[in-house]
């Protein structure tokens, strides 16, 4: 059993179930698939795991055009062709033209690294299927040089997804899965305390109350989450807004100041304003 264990750090609050998920993934050498609302710190998690355990991190940010092969290696045929035209001696060795991808780099690391595969759902629908063997056996074959690349140490693989596409079953079978729930008020207070240690208690409780009130508005397209709250508190501090103005019982101030940090699309702002207006009339 590995001696490394991940706990909350002074910059990142991991709930008990999240720490357990990471420790299980590390111990059994399984990739950990993390889902959750945008802004609940999925990507941040990998960075924190790496820094807490003092491991190198390799980040592979997946885009809609990403191919699984790019994570392994790419054969740069064009520059080899050009070099051959110029009579460059390095052309004889094909290895000079194999460009390593993030997965290979992490396989080659001296100590057990952390590999972040960020937003895997952005890629083509077949992308996860192309990585099955690599994630399972932690090895792949380079056809050009006829060499088998094996991981020196099974990397700690953390995969994030925003649920834009459903992932294939065969892929899911190989992963552990954790869903980062939106934190409850106590955890949220801890998180804010970690980021803004000197925050006044009243402002914090008012801000949290306002946040949960906004989140409870039915039909919001994008609910504000942790990262939005942190941004908003930063703004409140910068503008020096007094905590009293966040209180909801004052009808004129029912819409929280600087709400632009919390609500990210105009339909939501509109909806929220409408509801506030209706509430006021009902009084």
């Amino acid at each position: 059993m590995s001696t490394t264990r991940f706990e909350s750090t002074d910059r990142y609050i991991a709930t008990a179930d999240l720490s357990m998920a990471i420790n299980a993934a590390i111990t059994l050498g399984r990739p950990l698939l993390i889902k959750g609302e945008p802004g609940t710190g999925k990507t941040q998690l990998a960075l924190e795991v790496a820094s807490a355990l003092d491991r190198p991190i390799f980040e592979w940010h997946v885009k809609s055009t990403s191919k699984a092969q790019q994570g392994l290696y790419e054969y740069d045929a064009v520059s080899r062709l050009r070099d051959s035209q110029l009579g460059d001696p390095k052309v004889a060795d094909i290895r000079n033209y194999i460009v390593r991808g993030k997965l290979w780099e992490s396989f080659d690391s001296e100590v057990q690294p952390v590999l972040l595969i960020d937003e895997i759902d952005k890629a083509d629908i077949e992308f996860p299927n192309d990585l099955l063997r690599e994630l399972d056996r932690m090895e792949f074959y380079v056809y050009e040089t006829r060499e088998l690349v094996k991981a020196r140490h099974r990397p700690i693989i953390i995969i994030t997804s925003n649920n834009e596409k459903e992932l294939p079953d065969a892929f899911l079978r190989r992963c552990f899965f954790h869903y980062i729930r939106f934190p409850d008020a106590d955890t949220m207070a801890e998180i804010v305390a970690v980021h803004y240690p000197n925050l006044k208690r009243e402002l914090l409780s008012e801000a949290l109350a306002a946040l949960y009130r906004v989140r409870e508005t039915p039909g919001l397209k994008k609910k504000p989450s942790t990262s939005e709250l942190l941004d908003w508190i930063k703004l409140l501090l910068a503008e020096d807004i007094p905590p009293e103005s966040l209180r909801s019982d004052d009808p004129k101030k029912a819409i929280p100041p600087l709400y632009g940090a919390l609500l990210k699309n105009e339909q939501d702002v509109h909806l929220f304003e409408q509801l506030i207006f209706l509430n006021r009339r009902a009084r």
Binding site: M20, L28, E166, Y179, R181
Partner: protein, 396 residues
């Protein structure tokens, strides 16, 4: 004990496989969770459940297995709110039953039956039977439905915090038994793809370059070619409002799946049936309209047309001029539909209502004939048939 748990999970509709079960055992062996029910719960969920939509089902099975004798339903609310009943009815009765009941106008009676069933269930519970059984005798058994809202949980003070986690069922909202996920829709739509190289030559043609270089006695001769793109063009026409409100979710999914699959995707909205105008923005539908004639002129016949609508309306709305529920339409909907079928040889109608109900509604039958029997249900299998129909030109 764990093996029975495994099979109950499968029976409850959580797709667990043997590999996952083995990895749970492996993790237990590695002492990742030790001496704590809560840790065991997290570990089991981590290893066995791969989708937050299944968390709720997992929670229920877990509660059943590990909470022991003191579990479940010590208290049940006496009066069941009407919305809950409505929701339950939607889950408990098949589509067919509902259609029949609705046709007979006895929806109230149906609710009454349901109320009776619930009452009976309550009595049986006090007799000692399980509310959520696994043997299949209870209508709320693991093979079937989610008794949403009815499940209150016990209010007795529990000492161990662990029990709370799965008893609170925080993932209830994620549980939906959709037949058609976005992934499924996309996989089905993929069959419609037809690749062609068009546009600017900006991709290196490796084979072409090698060939040309060889012919050029070894001097490099780069060849470029256009990127391969999906050349299929799709025109999506969506019914909005009224009876379609029930299917909004499905339409959104279909739309988002189609949008990312096809480069050339155009969409318009209509209400109930197509008349002389369509619109693109539902909020400004009265301000910004597109004349259907312009649409027929502007889009080539090589567009594939997909109508999405339940086609449930009064037959007058199709057959008569001025039949529209919203405005005075000088020409009947049927004429517009004939123009569409004549202009676009590849055309289908997707209907979110179940196929068995189609015969109950005259307007669906009429529409079905108008589109040349190319109406399909929005199930995976129906979508497959629709795509197949879109691939071949109509016989008309």
């Amino acid at each position: 004990m764990l093996i029975r748990f495994f099979f109950d999970l499968r029976a409850a509709g959580v797709p667990v496989s043997i590999t996952e079960f083995l990895s749970l055992l492996q993790a237990l062996e590695a002492r990742i969770a030790f001496c704590s029910a809560e840790e065991f719960y997290w570990l089991a969920r981590l290893a066995l459940v791969k989708d937050e939509r299944h968390f709720d089902r997992f929670d229920r099975v877990f509660a059943e297995h590990f909470a022991g004798a003191e579990r479940l339903f010590e208290k049940i609310v006496a009066e069941v709110p009407a919305e809950w009943l409505q929701m339950m009815a939607e889950r408990l009765f098949t589509e067919e039953e509902r259609a029949k009941a609705q046709a007979l106008g006895s929806w109230d009676k149906l609710l009454e039956t349901l109320r009776d069933r619930l009452r009976e269930q309550k009595e049986r519970h006090s007799g000692g039977n399980k509310w959520i059984g696994t043997g299949g005798t209870s209508p709320f058994g693991s093979g079937g439905y989610n008794p949403e809202g009815i499940r209150i949980g016990s209010e007795g003070a529990r000492q161990r915090r662990a029990v709370k986690v799965w008893e609170s069922r925080e993932y209830r909202n994620f549980d939906d038994r959709r037949e058609l996920g976005t992934r499924n829709i996309k996989m089905a739509l993929r069959k419609l793809r037809r690749f062609a190289r068009q546009g600017a030559a900006d991709e290196l043609d490796l084979d072409g370059t090698i060939d040309a270089t060889a012919r050029n006695a070894g001097w490099l001769d780069l060849k470029l070619r256009p990127e391969r793109r999906n050349a299929v063009k799709v025109l999506l026409l969506l019914d909005v409002g009224g009876s379609m409100d029930d299917h909004i979710r499905l339409c959104e999914e279909l739309f988002s799946a189609a949008r990312s699959e096809f480069k050339h995707l155009e969409y318009f909205y209509f209400h109930n049936f197509i008349y002389e105008t369509l619109w693109k923005d539902n909020r400004r539908r009265h301000a910004e309209k597109t004349a259907t004639f312009d649409l027929l002129r502007g889009f080539n016949p090589d567009y594939r047309v997909i109508f999405v609508g339940d086609a449930a309306m009064s037959p007058y709305e199709i057959m008569q001029p001025g039949g529209s529920v919203e405005h005075w339409n000088p020409e009947a909907g049927v004429e517009w539909m004939q123009r569409f079928t004549a202009h676009f040889p590849r055309l289908v109608w997707l209907n979110p209502t179940p196929e068995q109900q189609w015969d109950w509604t005259p307007s669906i039958r009429i529409t079905q004939q108008l589109v040349g029997e190319r109406m399909f249900p929005t199930t995976l299998e129906g979508l497959d048939r629709a795509i197949a129909a879109l691939r071949r030109k109509s016989a008309q």
